[in-house]
Amino acid sequence: MPSAPSSRPSLPRRAAIVGANRIPFARSNGAYARASNQDMLTAALDGLVARFGMAGEQVGEVVSGAVLKKSSDFNLTREAVLGSRLAASTPTYDVQQACGTSLQTTLLIANKIALGQIESGVAAGVDTTSDAPIEVNEGLRSVLLAANRAKSTAGIVKALAGLRPGQIVPEIPANREPRTGMSMGEHAAQTAAAWGITRQAQDEIAAASHQHLAQAYDRGFFDDLMTPYLGLTKDNNLRPDSTVEGLAKLKPVFKPAGYPDTEATMTAANSTPLTDGAATVLLASDEWAAERGLPVLAHFVDAETAAVDYVHGDEGLLMAPAYAVPRLLERNGLTLQDFDFYEFHEAFASTILATFAAWEDPIFCKEKLGYDEPLGSFDRSKLNVVGSSLATGHPFAATGARIVPTLAKLLHEKGSGRGLISICAAGGQGVVAILEA
């Protein structure tokens, strides 16, 4: 019987975040209009390989995913790896959890490293809203499938006789919840109205996001986190000169259904735009990093995923993090105030403000979370200090893999500390995580 390797580390162990690479994010139908998910993911992976000298190397796993995915991309990550400079023997799989995708892929890689099943891995995510899959109209699809099932020429002709001119109109995927028929913005507008989130407060979040991102670019923060792609060197949604006064002039959209007397407060600036892009994170055991002389930016501590009943319950679509974070804090013996950085995905400025309001609300904390005391507030100067999705844009599945290395690098710069990540996702879900350095 073979004996266990003597150097086997004590398990579980904390996975290290070693580094990252992403391509700049591009507004929809712009710089990346001709690039596919596979193109962007391959480019982001190759940038990572180049940065860490991994050409020809096999990593434990690459796990990635896309929200808007063609059926021919069933093995998207595997195809991207085969076209990248990683060893062709690198295993992969695809995951999709809407906007939570690449925080979840990070968690999956981190857990396998923690259990000693792999020594290194790449978590990634990619999305394109420009090169989106177009589906044929449901009626046309039924006719074509019936024709395909037909066993005789006469059967095929009979099936095709069911074609109607209106069926030629294709269906382009919409940012809409299938069970509610409401767009994400319409859902967010309801939540904003329910919590009384003001236009002013939302615009302050949006302006800060752009200003922080611009400052971070100016000081070179992203130099070792990003590789130029198709002519872009920065996220092209960034408006460095954004001010609350300027944003106040934009026309509001998304009137909240069910609130006839409430004004719309959400605008194109305090809502994330449709964006294209890809992001990757390299995780490893401390030993793997040390053997290669690579840094450890931070460690992945723990994560929690929650879901809410927005379909028939009374909770907002994007409020799952309000439930996930308290569970994560409790399991780790922490309070909301015990963090040096708060990285909250800004799906809509109103979404994170509603989450903060919920944690400050004794009734919510008592009735929904079962706490006698509210979680309370935290120092907002520690929130999204190098900008977030309102400024960078938000290619759905890539956002987690943008945020994880951002926080890891912030913690590494500080030398020590702890950070909280929160991402809300379509389908009433949310993924949250803790990193420490």
Binding site: R179, A194, A257, G313
Partner: protein, 298 residues
């Protein structure tokens, strides 16, 4: 002809049909044939025996109404089996109310268990409770679905209204209907429905209910509608599909159809979990009630 006991019409003789009547033919006959318009409900029940639900037709129905293919037979599906019998009764020359332009006002379904695809079922229909309505007259069509053992597994009561029809003599003696459902829901819609413009034709294709008010704009206007309207039973089916997974196999679901749902249109769907079941409402963006629904389990 056989006589079967029925709690609702214990004495009426039963006529067993060999096959379901064809609805298009019935509508045509109703439109073209002079009616003698009797003043009393026919003392008869119609039934079909050895009816077997066809899984592929249920799949078509699922696609149009939003149910999951391969799940339980939808609770509204047995209405598909009963409706041709109802129409056969109502399009007879002697039936006291004219069938064309008839509007579905209310439908109560009590399900003991969902029927199973392929099992032999007995579907029995009779008319009941002819009554005056402030704007015309109304009548109930009662359906029972029994399994091979003769156990009723599903029954329903549909109330149909005819605008301007004179209330026949003796109609006031009809027993009162149970109180209408009174759902209590919050002010926030849980879903915004986009009712497709062709939903009347699509539902007609799976149900056989080719009532002109659902499939033809001009005909709909001729019957006093603003344009083509969605079938009431489609809105009920869609509402139950939206509650999928939230109720068990045995329940009573009572629905009142208020303002017709135009096709195309948008409508707000409100739901609330209540003691023993669900309340739901479908309302127009301007706040007019389309559908009031209560579902109580057990």
């Amino acid at each position: 002809m056989t006589a079967q006991p029925s709690p609702a019409a214990p004495h009426a003789p039963v006529e067993t049909l060999d096959s379901p009547p064809t609805l298009g033919v019935l509508y045509g006959r109703a439109l073209l044939t002079a009616r003698s318009g009797g003043s009393a409900l026919p003392d008869r029940r119609l039934e079909l025996v050895n009816v077997r639900i066809d899984g592929s037709l249920v799949a078509d129905y699922d696609h149009v109404c939003g149910f999951s293919v391969g799940g339980d037979v939808p609770p509204t599906y047995p209405h598909m089996l009963a409706f041709p019998l109802q129409m056969r009764l109502m399009t007879d020359r002697e039936f006291p109310l004219p069938a064309p332009g008839m509007v579905h006002l209310r439908n109560i379904i009590a399900q003991v268990r969902p029927p199973v695809v392929g099992e032999p079922l007995r579907v029995t229909v009779h008319a009941d409770r002819l009554a005056a309505h402030p704007k015309g007259a109304q009548v109930d069509l009662v359906t029972t679905v029994a399994d091979e053992d003769g156990t009723t597994i599903w029954d329903s009561r549909s109330t149909y209204f005819v605008r301007g029809a004179p209330a026949p003599a003796g109609a006031d003696d009809a027993p009162a209907a149970p109180p209408e459902p009174d759902p209590h829901v919050g002010r926030l819609p849980h879903a915004i429905w986009t009712v497709p413009g062709d939903i009347g034709r699509r539902y007609a294709a799976v149900s056989g209910d080719v009532n002109p008010i659902h499939v033809n704009g001009l005909a709909a206007k001729a019957f006093g509608m603003p344009g083509t309207i969605a079938h009431g039973m489609w809105t009920k089916a869609r509402a139950l599909a939206a509650l999928a997974g939230r109720y068990g196999p045995a329940f009573t679901v009572d629905v009142v159809f208020k303002a017709p749902v135009r096709a195309p249109s948008k409508a707000y769907f409100h739901t609330a979990a209540v003691d023993g079941g669900w309340d739901a409402k479908l309302v127009s963006p301007k706040g007019r009630d389309h559908l009031l629904l209560t579902l109580r389990e057990g």
